[in-house]
Amino acid sequence: MNTMFLSIDKLRKTYGAVVAVDNVSLEVPEGEFLTFLGPSGSGKSTTLYALAGFDEPSAGDIRLRGASILSTPSHKRNIGMVFQRYTLFPHLSVHENIAFPLRVRHQSASDIAARVKAMLTLVRLEGYGARMPAHLSGGQQQRVALARALAYDPPVLLMDEPLSALDKKLREEIQIEIRRIHQETGVTILYVTHDQEEALRLSDRIAVFNHGRIEQVGTGRELYHNPATRFVAGFVGDSNFLEVADAEVRGERARITFPDGTTLANVPVHGGASASGTGELMVRPQSLRLSTDGSGLPVRVRDVTFLGDTSTVLFETAWGQEIWLRAAASQINNATPGANCHLEWNATESHWFA
């Protein structure tokens, strides 16, 4: 078995001089929930639209079970898609919306009725068949859209920020629904979002897009704990970036020196940077602790914000950079604005980027 279920191979899309997708390659095993995460304009939606066949790639290939799908027109690709905006057919009832793909496939009336019923059950909208889309809430509309996209058993389901028009609470509710439906149907899902929390919550793996390229592909844990690039480090999870005056690389680790002379050994090196030099150190706010013995990075407290369970503290380094930590409120009782203290963290939880 060396043919991957879905492979995107050196995909490239340009609009005139603008490169929207730049050499994107990706392998997706059957049944995976893969999310394209990135800021707007990073090429994630363009890649999705190339899969749907609405955007013809300038170069590269997309293969499903080993066969290229690029020459197949959209309506024959048999791919399901849920769009960012509500795309129910406004003149058709919920039932007829879900039946639409089955009718254009000339299925028998009884098959259609059974399938629509099963789909309504799947998205938990039993009894809504006769409703018109205008009489549904946004969340319900997207669930019907999901049912319609799954009705014809597509091998791949594309979802283009389907929850971006919904409010936060509803969004979380439907995220749970989507996970359940993924588990029940086993369909391969490619999901586009710019919301890292949504990506972490839903996905088996995440592909982080930036400037038309994929920066890193991996599970949420991998991206969080082992960001391959500075961009991933900054985009997934909260982060502090500290200026590094000098770094000595020894194998996979580096010994770094901050502008104020403080040093830190055993820092993981990323992005294939082997040469020593300057750069930036990323450390998560949660990894920081106030040191009790006067060792670590000397800083001054600028501001303390109480957030209930946790507090955040904003510090300033000796060379004027801001750095913040988050911790249980009880652990940082003694931090008051203006106070001088030291910050320490486990060197292996920080990352140096050249």
Binding site: M81, Q84, Y86, T87, F89, H91, F100, V104
Partner: protein, 266 residues
């Protein structure tokens, strides 16, 4: 507060007085004509000495009036159908196309609406004299399609712009061919716009006088042309009867349109 109805004070009364006067000014002539068409006075004395339907009898006794009405209906329906068809295609290009000069094309499509009709009337008259379309049904339909087309474009472009292309894309991904998706999803979704386009372009043709005066021959006249001809001779109450029917017909079409529109909206 000048834009708060409740706080206008005395100004409100003044504004209402003017508004009511204007409403009367706009309505009275129409009602007046309808009343006169039932008055017995040959000289259109108002209030009429007594009431009668003899002008309507006279109107219906003259086959030329009926013929003119039939011609009007034929020209109106045909040019409305053509306007909507061409307008639909053109709107797809204007809304979905990405060719250079799209804005210019849009402006061009609307020019027949803003140019003085007399210029177009004389121009098309000159052309039709030369190619022998003057005084023919085809000539009438072509000329009125040019005039009705901009209204069709406006109505259809509006509704097509309000229609999310993603819905059509969704239909295509569901397995409908691009043409099927347009016929089964897009057209039903913009049917209100198509309907308005049809009504507008029909009424434009139905009420059109200037081009029709040039286009008409003694044997082929629309209703407005006949009224025009009669008006130039005298102010006979038969014209009042014909006008009343014309107005009533327009009102019926508008009322029906409003009714169907509210049905569709449900």
């Amino acid at each position: 507060m000048l834009l708060s109805y409740r706080k206008l004070g005395g100004l409100r009364i003044a504004l209402w007085a003017i508004t009511l006067a204007v409403c009367l000014f706009l309505l009275v002539p129409i009602i007046f004509i309808a009343a006169l068409s039932f008055g017995s006075s040959q000289w259109l004395i108002f209030p009429p000495p007594s009431w009668t339907t003899k002008w309507y009898h006279e109107l219906f006794a003259d086959p030329r009036w009926l013929q003119a009405a039939m011609t009007s209906a034929k020209v109106g329906l045909l040019s409305a159908a053509l306007s909507v068809f061409l307008g639909l295609l053109a709107s797809f290009a204007l809304v979905r196309g990405s060719f250079p000069g799209r804005g210019i094309l849009r402006a061009l499509f609307l020019t027949p609406m803003v140019l003085p009709v007399i210029v177009f009337a004389v121009a098309i008259y000159a052309l039709f004299l030369r190619i022998g379309l003057n005084g023919t049904l085809v000539g009438f339909v072509i000329a009125h399609t040019v005039l009705g087309f901009p209204f069709a474009v406006i109505a259809i472009v509006n509704s097509l712009e309000g229609f999310d292309k993603s819905i059509e894309d969704a239909a295509v991904l569901c397995g409908a061919s691009p043409l099927q998706a347009k016929l089964k999803v897009t057209l039903p979704a913009i049917k209100l716009g198509l309907f308005s386009a049809a009504i507008f372009s029909f009424l434009i043709s139905w009420d059109e006088v200037v081009v029709a005066i040039f286009m008409a021959s003694p044997t082929l006249q629309t209703l407005p042309v006949r009224i025009w001809g009669a008006l130039r001779q005298d102010l006979s109450p038969v014209i009042a009867a014909a006008s009343t029917i014309l107005v009533a017909f327009t009102l019926v079409v508008m009322a029906l349109a409003a009714l169907i529109r509210s049905r569709m909206n449900k």
